[in-house]
């Protein structure tokens, strides 16, 4: 265990733990876009920047991305100075310049007193902030169906050759993790379309509701060793089934007790 100081308060933390996790555990709110508990920290959005110093640094301080900074004994951290406010405001300003239509960014910028970007807005820009959350989660899931393509201002997140990604299983992880909701998909009847690729959705045996894509189910069955029948019913029907089973058990227990 190590002792660090956050905004004047001494806090105990496990060595090697990332600063952001400790700060958040203390109930301090720091905005982030690219951070997700299912992902390794990447420091792509830069919003979690904090100020650090040590007593022996003699007044010298530096700014680090807290999601990537492992805690160490004697660290003195400030999370909400006026400089940090300006840093975060500038980052949001730049992000907003590139994605002026993003309601998520607009809302975050509002909190920093920014009603619109002070830079020339890229009106044709989409809402992607290149945080790579989508490509990282796809990799975590063992698929890596999408990736950054090209470089610099031409860079986009796309499947290989701009075609239907052969490795995609239609799990929607990329769309759900996207902090600015850029990745879109449609579910129509029992067909899901994402990245221009079509997937068959499994209909629940009991209620007929569409559940997950067949490709995703097969992947989970194979990878996680789940029973084949697991995805035949939807979560709601599974819950009802479980409740009934539990109810029957309770009845039985009562009978036995009597």
């Amino acid at each position: 265990m190590v002792n660090i100081t956050i905004n004047g308060k001494v806090v105990r933390a496990t060595e090697g733990e990332m600063l952001l996790d400790v700060i958040r555990r203390e109930g301090i709110n720091i905005p982030t876009l690219c951070q997700h508990d299912a992902l390794e920290p990447a420091g792509n959005c830069r919003l979690c920047m904090v100020e650090i110093t040590r007593t022996e640094w003699d007044g010298w301080k530096k700014y680090v991305t807290s999601c990537l900074y492992p805690v160490e004994e004697g660290l003195i951290v400030s999370t909400h100075t006026s400089e940090l406010h300006e840093i975060r405001k500038t980052i949001l300003d730049l992000l907003l310049a590139n994605s002026p239509h993003s309601d998520v960014l607009q809302k975050m910028a509002e909190e920093y007193g920014l009603h619109k970007t002070s830079y020339e807005p890229n009106l044709e820009g989409d809402n992607c902030i290149m945080c790579y959350a989508c490509t990282r989660i796809c990799e975590v899931l063992g698929k890596s169906a999408i990736s950054p393509v090209m470089r610099g201002h031409e860079k986009v997140i796309a499947p290989p050759f701009g075609e239907e990604p052969p490795d995609c299983i239609g799990c929607l992880a990329c769309a759900h993790i996207c902090p600015t909701n850029v990745i879109t998909w449609t579910d129509e009847n029992l067909t899901r379309t994402i990245w221009k690729k079509k997937f068959e959705l499994i209909a629940c045996e009991k209620c007929g509701k569409a559940t997950i894509s067949r490709d995703f189910a097969e992947y989970l069955i194979e990878k996680r060793g789940l029973p084949k029948e697991y995805f035949n019913t939807c979560d709601d029907c599974k819950r009802v089934e479980l409740a009934q089973k539990m109810g029957a058990l309770v009845d039985k227990a009562k009978e036995v007790a009597l």
Binding site: S144, A145, P148, V149, P160
Partner: protein
């Protein structure tokens, strides 16, 4: 891809360790052999090196040296660095484009020539600079451009 192309490809794979770490060297070898990265070669690379296709494609599009389109036997590179720009790189490019009938970044239909622009080749004292494949030409005069390109 023809059978001979496949043999060439197999040779490249055999010359490199077949692991994800070889990705860039394999891509370089393929580019050297075919002068561009054919799609089938990328798909094969992903399979052999055990790298997701998306990552192979990502690396292929990231580096400026890689091309996904077939390129000519002679790749003519015009330096567009500051010194060359001042010394008239634009005029050299104009000469090339009208002489070969293609724009920068394009390849002639007979796959003989490709024009590319480079940001700087580091030979600013020789500005304006033009390269034909690996050969450097300095102090290029606009009336000599086509002669240099057609040489040997």
């Amino acid at each position: 891809m023809t059978q001979t192309d496949m043999t060439k490809l197999d040779k490249i794979f055999n010359n490199n360790p077949q692991s994800p770490g070889s990705l860039i060297t394999v891509l370089q070898d393929i580019q050297r052999e075919f002068r561009y990265l054919p799609r089938e070669a990328l798909e094969k690379t992903a399979e052999i090196l055990n790298v997701p296709l998306s990552k192979v494609y990502s690396a292929s599009t990231f580096y400026a040296v890689f091309s996904l389109k077939p390129r000519g036997e002679k790749i003519v590179r015009v330096c567009k660095g500051t010194a060359c720009h001042i010394k008239g790189a634009d005029i050299i490019l104009e000469q090339l484009e009208s002489g070969l009938g293609i724009k920068a970044g394009e390849t002639t239909k007979d796959l003989k020539y490709t024009i590319e622009l480079v940001n700087c080749v580091g030979a600013c004292a020789l500005a304006p600079v033009m390269l034909v494949n690996e050969k450097y030409y300095g102090n290029v005069r606009c009336d000599r451009v086509m002669k240099l390109v057609e040489k040997d």
